[in-house]
Symmetry: C2
Subunit: 290 residues, 2 copies
């Protein structure tokens, strides 16, 4: 039981072994139990960040396969607890059941005062600029490295480490989300499925057309090199790969929003996303998660 704020926002997010991560221990595994706990909580908190809400409490449900012992389940929870502490979130409850594969579901409840602006996906307006926080493509590049789609020497060891950290220990942009909400953002979404797919959700919810300038994407260090090895341009990872957990924001052109990199604009027309670079319109094809 917790004392409530004026308004509550709740989000639920599920990650499945073999779909959203590969648990270390089995062949080809690359996510430690602590990574899995961290990522599952981060994914749920990221939704709150995109609304500009204060993180409140988290509730974690685990489906544990037989071969995952208690110690590794506790390590998973410690990974989630460590992130919770950094995000001023309290893990208040949960459920543990057995099942055929590791499944982690996190529900998070966030709070806002009656006067605090909360941002949805449906407020983008023609004339708005479209921006993103941070850098894009790191999680997708890390995945390509971990899944041996590109050679390890494609990037330096330090760059590899930084990319892996972004995939395995993403940081939900809670502070940034609250600042953007307070600064008057019209619409926001967190980048869980990739900029192109997530912007398409904004476009549908707001009934607007969104144009993205692929040359303007702020790519993380190493992303272009990994994309090149895949015989793709850097924007292919920057706009296509998910799980960067940065924020995508739409705001009026006059707004100065600290930490936002402008990458596109909102227009009238049927709800869709137009991608173009210096060569003209581009299609995002061939992108598969995991």
């Amino acid at each position: 039981m917790v004392d409530a704020g004026d308004r509550a926002v709740t989000s639920i997010d599920t990650m499945v072994d073999g779909v959203h991560f590969r648990l270390a221990g089995a062949a080809g595994g690359w996510a430690s139990p602590a990574d899995v706990g961290h990522r599952a909580l981060a994914g749920a908190l990221s939704d709150l960040a995109a609304m500009g809400a204060l993180a409140g409490e988290a509730y974690v449900s685990l489906v544990l396969p037989e071969d995952m012992g208690e110690e590794r389940a506790l390590e998973l929870m410690r990974g989630a607890e460590a992130l919770a502490g950094r995000c001023h979130t309290t893990i208040c409850g949960g459920d543990v059941v057995s099942g055929p594969a590791l499944v982690v579901t996190v529900a998070v409840v966030g709070w806002a005062s009656a006067t605090q602006p909360l941002v949805g996906r449906d407020g983008a307006q023609p004339g708005d600029r479209l921006g993103v926080t941070g850098e894009l493509g790191a999680a997708g590049a890390a995945l390509a490295l971990l899944e041996d789609q590109v050679a390890p020497e494609t990037v330096s060891p330090a760059t590899r480490e930084a990319l892996l950290e972004r995939l395995l220990r993403p940081r939900p942009r809670l502070q940034e989300g609250q600042q953007l909400a307070a600064a008057g953002a019209h619409a926001m979404i967190d980048l869980s499925d990739g900029l192109a797919a997530d912007a398409a959700q904004l476009a549908r919810a707001s009934d607007v057309r969104i144009e993205i300038d692929l040359d303007a994407l702020p790519l993380a260090n190493g992303v272009s090199a990994v994309a090149g090895e895949l015989r793709r341009p850097g924007w292919w990872l920057g706009a296509g790969s998910g799980e960067d957990y940065e924020l995508c924001v739409c705001a009026a052109p006059g707004e100065e929003l600290a930490g936002v990199h402008w990458v596109g604009r909102v227009g009238e027309g049927e709800p869709r996303v137009l991608l173009s670079d210096h060569e003209g319109e581009q299609a995002l094809t061939g992108y598969e998660h995991l």
Copy 2:
């Protein structure tokens, strides 16, 4: 985003195909997608009922296996929606991912006013009586019928229908929970794991000893017949089988609580549950879920 009450209680509950139910369609399956949706929401709401909270919003996360088409997933959600409507609960969000087996996780948020009593598991006091709402053992008896552990003719078709309804479409005791909380219940828990196991949780949380009179258990019609076929006394299902989703309540002896059947008492001593019938102390052995 919802306007909040004064205090929030949140519960999360997960059900897995092959562990908590068997989805119809595969060999030996007995729960329709709509049943699964209903039961998963009922299990989560039942936790709120045991606190005496008002049900607020529900959030449903689905892990869908490849062979479960969209139509069956929608049928599952319709089953949950139908129960939500009857419980004045709104399904406000969710997540859908793919995975190796059907997993349904429901998070529910309930509300209470600052002056409304909420009941925990830790308030049982020596001298309290222990009671239950409704009737016990129905879900366990239904499971024995569905899993062919007893012959169909053990009970009449009408009794079988009634037992199956209790297993497949349990009704969370939300109203009863609020009434018991208002009437001064000291501690409550919902019967998801079975009276003996759930009372043991109350005993541990409240640091009390709980004595249960097995002869006093209010067994649902047909439970004794099914237990007899299993060469067990009726109380074996009544105290051992889970998922009846009735409430177990501890209250001071003077309290008149409508709809409660008294089956035991709370005493001092090391936290444990003592089961006894007219023959003396009994142990609950050999009970396996599914």
